[in-house]
């Protein structure tokens, strides 16, 4: 249990440590985050299956809010993925951040993200999931805006944050709906209730759509795609970890986690398919025309995530999760290599790069491996996962399978174009440095994963995850997809210096950006409208407040009258008391004082009689005796 709790807690603690003492550490606090990621990974290996940590946060009425972590096969799988990618990227960022300013802040934010992401993945409660979801968004905002002095970075960060917030509203409403339906925030309870057909279909469908909104926002699907390419302004490790491998996959993970909800709502599942298809196609086409290496990869990420959504919509969660893992591996590798290129060549414009395979042979090889994996060339990971998706699609319909093949062709086109533009042809930047060893190590780790993950997981994933295995793919489709991939690579490599499909991608991108910005603008409008409504409400409230203040003033004056009367009475009593006190002081006390003084004086005078002198005593005695004698004589005589 402690280990289970430690898995997400360690990166958070590492974040704190990096923030506090990172300035004095040789790697700027990065060793904390890397160590924490490694320890979390070990912890994930140690924790037994089915471990559960759950507690009731509070109960209110019929609602029971719980907090807890759960260790199911799906969560274990995704958490391991997240921790592994985090470890590789962490090692890479040790070298990437070497010599850069503000390292402790970077590593603290990275640690925060890793911890929050692990909480998100492992959470057994929708409350914790939502909180971690927002934390991840916060970490994304912070990391995109890490170089806040760079022009466009704050805007990009705000854009990413706001656009994901639109989806988050859906998620919030969705889990609140789940809470009202089931009375608890336990995901298992929700799924169990669904399995027993206890819930009405309409609310479940609504809940599925709301959850889908959250997934769309996080995974940069249409119409909320626009923030992802802009987020590429952040540091490259951030792009590799957050915006390709883990955070953007959180949307897919959400759908996977709540897959029974979507299964219970066919409309929502269809929406998942169509949204995924549209995003995959549009983003893929845009990627072929993009001239910025990282933006190519960003659009590619959106496209690949759409592909996963397609798989989910077609009822293939196993294929989606397979592709999730594979995509995380090769896309993060690609980003890391692109980061090296940007760092060493000083630019990421495809038209200003070229022939870097000779200057950066290691990076080039890594990029090529990951790129070929993305394109779906066997035996690399992309081939297996895309084959799984293709199998799912082929089982459903011919058109869907054709769409997948087209996407494979597009993927080969944009990655082949990027690779050839960057690493082959005329050598453009002359002064190219060497990447540091941690960057190489991180890239090597992830490239290894990208190369081997496919055949490692192929056929075994079904035994790991509780999803039904997809049918075998017909060899015709397999050959077709392979041919499409090779064709795409070749086509892309030939159109390296220009857009692959002419002006179409640019137009598409402009339209899409406008379209994706529309919800933001609409939200803004709504918020402005809300402003007006609020002003009106304000006026009403002010009127009410003024009226009540008038009433209060009336009562206040009445109270003041009472107060004055009471004060008058109190003053009278006070004066009476003072007078009596003065009388006492003058009459009794002073009189008593005078009496006491007089008595003291008399005593003093009497005291002088007691002189202690014997002759005075005898004198007095005999004077008295003589007086008595005289008196006696007079009495005798008279």
């Amino acid at each position: 249990m402690i280990v289970l709790l430690a898995i997400p807690a360690l990166p958070l603690l590492a974040a704190l440590a990096a923030l506090r003492v990172g300035r004095r550490m040789p790697w700027g606090g990065g060793e904390f985050v890397v160590g924490a990621a490694a320890l979390s990974l070990i912890g994930l290996m140690l924790v037994p299956d089915g471990a559960n940590l759950s507690a009731t946060w509070f109960e209110s009425g019929g609602f029971r809010l719980t907090v807890g972590l759960e260790f199911s096969p799906l969560t274990w799988f995704v958490a391991t993925l997240v921790a592994s990618i985090a470890l590789g990227v962490g090692i890479y960022s040790l070298g990437y951040m070497a010599g850069k300013a503000d390292r402790p802040r970077f590593f603290a934010e990275l640690g925060l993200f890793i911890g929050a992401m692990l909480v998100l993945v492992l959470s057994s409660s929708l409350v914790i999931l939502f909180a971690a979801w927002e934390l991840v968004g916060l970490a994304s905002y912070l990391l995109i805006g890490f170089n806040y002095a760079e022009p466009g970075a704050p805007q990009a960060a705000a854009k990413a944050f706001l656009m994901t917030r639109i989806g988050d509203v859906g998620l919030l409403l969705g889990w609140l709906l789940a809470l009202t339906l089931t009375g608890t925030t336990e995901i298992d309870a929700l799924i169990g209730a669904l399995g027993q057909q206890q819930l009405a279909p309409a609310p479940v469908a609504l809940m599925a759509f709301l959850m889908l909104a959250g997934a769309i926002g996080k995974s940069a699907q249409l119409p909320l795609t626009g923030w992802l390419p802009d987020a590429m302004i952040g540091p490259t490790p951030v792009s590799a970890l957050l915006h390709s491998a883990t955070m953007v996959a959180a949307g897919v993970f959400l759908v996977l986690r709540l897959y029974p909800v979507f299964e219970a709502a066919p409309g929502a599942l269809a929406a998942v398919f169509w949204i995924g298809a549209a995003t995959a196609l549009v983003a893929g086409v845009i990627a072929t025309g993009e001239m910025d290496l990282k933006r190519v990869l960003a659009w590619s990420t959106a496209s690949q995530l759409g592909e996963m959504m397609i798989a989910l919509g077609l009822g293939g969660p196993l294929a989606a999760s397979f592709h999730l893992a594979a995509h995380a591996a090769f896309k993060s590798t690609l980003f890391l290599a692109a980061g090296v290129v940007q760092e060493e060549a000083g630019t990421r414009g495809l038209d200003r790069l070229g022939g870097l395979i000779r200057a950066l042979p290691f990076t080039g090889v890594v990029f090529l491996i990951a790129g070929v994996a993305l394109a779906g060339i066997p035996p690399l990971s992309g081939f297996w996962s895309e084959e799984a998706i293709l199998a799912t699609a082929a089982r459903q319909s011919f058109g869907a399978a054709l769409l997948i093949v087209a996407l494979i062709f597009l993927a080969g086109t944009y990655i082949g174009r990027a690779a050839s533009a960057t690493f082959f042809g005329e050598r453009r930047p002359d002064d190219v440095g060497k990447p540091a060893w941690p960057m190489k190590a991180g890239m090597a780790l992830l490239a290894l994963a990208a190369a081997s993950l496919g055949w490692l997981l192929s056929g075994r994933l079904g035994s790991i995850l509780p999803f039904s295995a997809e049918p075998d793919l017909a060899s015709a489709w397999r050959a077709f997809a392979l041919v499409a991939a090779i064709l795409g690579l070749a086509f892309g490599a030939r159109r390296s210096s220009a857009s692959a499909f002419g002006v179409l991608p640019a137009k598409l991108r402009a339209g899409l950006m406008a379209a994706t910005e529309w919800p933001t603008i609409a939200t803004m409008r709504i918020s402005q409208l809300l402003n007006v409504v609020e002003a009106a409400l304000d006026r009403v409230a002010q009127g009410i407040a003024k009226g009540s203040s008038v009433i209060a003033g009336t009562t206040h004056s009445a109270e003041r009258q009472f107060d004055a009367v009471a004060e008058l009475a109190a003053g009278g009593v006070w004066r009476l008391a003072q007078n009596s006190e003065r009388a006492e002081a003058l009459g009794f006390a002073r009189g008593g004082d005078a009496l006491a003084i007089d008595i003291v004086g008399i005593g003093e005078r009497l005291r002088t009689l007691q002189s202690g002198r014997l002759y005075l005593y005898t004198l007095a005695l005999f004077v008295w005796a003589a007086a008595a004698l005289v008196a006696g004589g007079l009495m005798l005589w008279l």
Partner: protein, 103 residues
Amino acid sequence: MIVPLTAYLIVGAILFAIGVYTVIAQRAAVMILMGIEVLLNAIGLNIIAFWRFTAPTDYSAQIFAILIITIGAIEMAIGLALVMLLYRQRQTVEVDAYAELKR
């Protein structure tokens, strides 16, 4: 009995007055004791004179005189002891030096 009773009484009265003067006016303890002795003598003289002239057959007056002499002897002995004690303590026997009781 040619000498009247009044003559003896006048002698006793004069002795008494002289004793009173001595007791009051003298500072030394010894002198005060001497004054007291004179007072006692005056009283004894009075007693004997009255006995002789008013009740010569009743000898009780002489008993009274003997008692007075006894009292005087005791007083003198105690006085001597007191004077010695005080002298040992203060190296003086003047009664003025023993005025502590006034406090």
